[in-house]
Symmetry: C2
């Protein structure tokens, strides 16, 4: 039998010859080119004919014997009787005729999205100032966590997360946010997207309606669609989510996803009457409100508006927070705060649903908060971002005139600049991208029939020295003909 | 007006008095105890009557003014006209009458589950030897990653994960597992549960049928149920998943979740004819096979059985791997390998679905693999775990006699000891738990009508000095009357 092809070129780089022989023999067997029952030469004679060591052949034979591709008997080695695919190696055509596909719902997650590389660019929204991150203190906390790490930190996380971190979050929310929270109500998550995803699955069933803000946070829509929920867009006005009677009557929600303290992306703050009315009607239709308080930490001035979560003792509200903006997104730690009535069950179900971990990072973060580093960092960044926002406002007024309409900015890391109707935000953003800017079109957060026309301008990561040049390019993008 | 109750005891610990006043005033306003329009005393006179600084009162007033709970006019400060809840503060009874609940599908995630604390106990399955973890090398890699960290590591992860880690995983699978994998086919996940969850949502739609192994990995069932899939249990025999014609005809699957190289928990290896037949029929009904190769790394002896993923060039297979067992579970890093046809779309959709991060850890792991530490660690642990398994086998034979039926152990970190019918595994496991052992009942992995009777005995974290005493307790648990 002619087996020279076992080592015929081209040979794959960096693969030992014994594995080349193994792979080629196996392919030949599985494709039917070597028919069941075919006798193979003895290892010694094959080695001689291929001019290689006998052990090299033996390795391949033994592996194929172990796998059941070959059989050994007194007469030697032969191809095992396998259910061979009828048409030998499948052709490209055969593959194309039956395309392998993602699920139908995956389409929701494949909507166009700016390249993530944009997150390093000037004006990219939602990006904190990495340079101002307190690396030394944070790494010292990580060091300590590693030194003291035991199986609790190296294994899966406890229900709800590291107990010390849950307590630190509860303490922080109580003192800084004025929310009466117990540690047992806190569930540590791997960020806001994970939190929204958990709420979509653990608080709503397939086919239930979820309200999302329009314009709003796109990733919340994706999580809800993937969880099988019917996404109903509800308009946002200057006072926040503004559901009509028709919304309540024809699309009664099971979940209501909102960003009341600084609506994303418009930046409006939900008024207190609107909050109370929303709570009242949510109660009446047994809906859960998921309150994403994603950047209440960086308020410019004055007290934060009260969270819906703490507004009434038995409010049907789940509170969502994250460390992505206050520390760094890649950390992937955030939290949910749940009403007592469901906190324990939610924590257990979340453990099963996600098998969380990151025990070292959780312990380091608890330490970081306990030592006061977190509050100090927030305080410092509040001033820091306020100065950056002021610089952006000043530069925008100089570049586009004092009557430029801006919104947002009471908190967070971005401003919205509304555009006059003769300019189109998508076109401006596309031109800006070619000029190396990460600005986003406001319209890209909106869904029909709503249209918005503006630019979302992040300033979190805008270094002082970059502002002039970035603004020059922005002007160029805005002024160019559409 | 009498407002002494604003600072009446009991006062919450560690809350500044200005916040106590703020909270109590707000509660009174929102509950209707202070009616809309009620005039409040001037800050100066309230401060005097409460014997506190005027600024303390001013703080509370200003916050409530900002929130819209109070209004100021020329005559002073009064309670704003708010839509007050009709029944003042809700009573406990009112809450109980309309219980706040999790979703129906959350029930799947609330099934009984042993306390996670069990994972530190002798015989707990799936626990690696934390003591043998190469802390020094790993932390040196983390150090380097931190030193070189830029926004790419601190921000959200790129599509599919860190490019260097994707390449390192592809290289590892090609050389060690014999799988022809390109980096662009690899999607970094936060572990096996996240990978299963992604497959359930991105490869199947609500109402689709998923096959899971019976007995099998419980968490896979949870992820599928939460994704709205119909979970159909398929029996496992000595050759792996053993679907009947009835299974194929009446419950045609869209997803097939299997652990073919070392079935969890029975430890059987799927035979090659069974693999080929499964591929053939999966193709015929356009199903995806999700191949969880969770512990193929710790094979005792002989070559690993070939992965289904690499068995045929266009196999409808998604390959799942994890670093939870080879490094540590809390790391929360694993990977999916996808056929070329869907790899790019899957990576994009996964990014939207999960907003992954952990860029520092991903880069450190890539470094750890590139330096050969990972392969060296696997090699060392293979010998190490083989010795532990042998010690367990020896101890079991001594304690229960040479005819004790064991299965599994060709790979992984546990053995199954089958029990005679007069013993009941659940009872034995419960008694063992009271004796401080983490042994699990085999039956707890099975679903009716299947019954299994045995003990799943982990040895990954069983230190040498613990074996004698642990075995003594196990004998006690087995010998006690049921």
């Amino acid at each position: 039998m002619e087996l020279d092809w076992l080592l015929a070129p081209p040979l794959p780089d960096a693969m030992p010859r014994q594995r080349v022989i193994y792979h080629r023999l196996r392919d030949a067997i599985l494709s039917g080119r070597l028919a069941p029952g075919t006798r193979l030469p003895a290892s010694r004679s094959l080695a001689a004919s291929l001019k290689i060591a006998r052990n090299t052949v033996l390795f391949a034979y033994e592996q194929l014997l172990a796998e059941g591709c070959l059989q050994a008997d007194r007469q030697g080695t032969r191809v095992a009787p396998l259910p061979v695919r009828p048409s030998a190696t499948p052709t490209r055509r055969a593959v194309a005729a039956r395309p392998q596909q993602l699920s139908g719902r995956a389409a929701a997650a494949l909507q166009p999205e700016p390249l993530r590389e944009a997150s390093a660019l000037p004006f990219a929204p939602g990006v904190p100032d990495y340079g101002a991150f307190p690396f030394r203190n944070w790494r010292a906390c990580l060091e300590r966590a590693w030194r003291e790490a035991g199986w609790r930190q190296l294994g899966y996380a406890a229900h709800g997360g590291d107990p010390e971190l849950r307590a630190a979050v509860a303490g922080h929310l109580t003192t800084v946010r004025g929310l009466p929270v117990d540690a047992c109500q806190v569930v540590i998550t791997s960020g806001t997207q994970a939190a929204v995803d958990l709420c979509a699955r653990l608080l709503a069933d397939h086919g239930d309606t979820v309200w999302t803000e329009n314009p709003g946070y796109l990733a919340a829509r994706v999580a809800c669609a993937l969880a099988g929920l019917r996404v109903h867009d509800v308009a946002v006005d200057g006072e926040g989510l503004s559901p009509s009677d028709d919304d309540w009557r024809r699309h009664p929600p099971r979940l209501i996803m909102i960003t009341p303290s600084h609506q994303y992306p418009t930046g409006c703050v939900m008024s207190l009457p609107r909050r109370l009315a929303l709570l009242e009607r949510a109660r009446a239709c047994h809906a859960w409100i998921v309150e994403d308080d994603y950047d209440s930490e960086f308020r410019r001035a004055g007290p934060a508006p009260p969270a819906l979560f703490g507004l009434q003792p038995d409010a049907p509200v789940v509170y969502v927070g994250t460390f992505s903006k206050t520390l760094y997104p890649g950390l992937r730690l955030g939290y949910l705060v749940l009403p007592h009535a469901i906190a324990s069950d939610f924590a257990r179900a979340a453990t099963q649903a996600t098998r969380a971990g990151q025990g070292i990072e959780q312990r380091a973060l608890a330490d970081f908060m306990q030592r006061g580093y977190y509050t100090a960092h927030l305080r410092r960044m509040r001033t820091h971002y306020a100065a950056r926002q002021l610089a952006l406002r000043t530069a925008l007024a100089e570049a586009f005139g004092p009557h430029t309409v801006l919104s947002g900015g009471e908190a967070g890391l971005h401003l919205v600049m509304w555009l006059p109707s003769h300019l189109h935000d998508a076109g401006v953003a596309a031109r800006a991208a070619t000029l190396g800017l990460g600005v986003r079109a406001l319209g890209s957060y909106a869904r029909a029939p709503l249209t918005c026309n503006g630019l979302v301008l992040g300033y979190g990561n805008m270094q002082e020295g970059m502002m002039a040049e970035s603004m020059r390019r922005l002007v160029e993008a805005v002024r160019a003909p559409d």
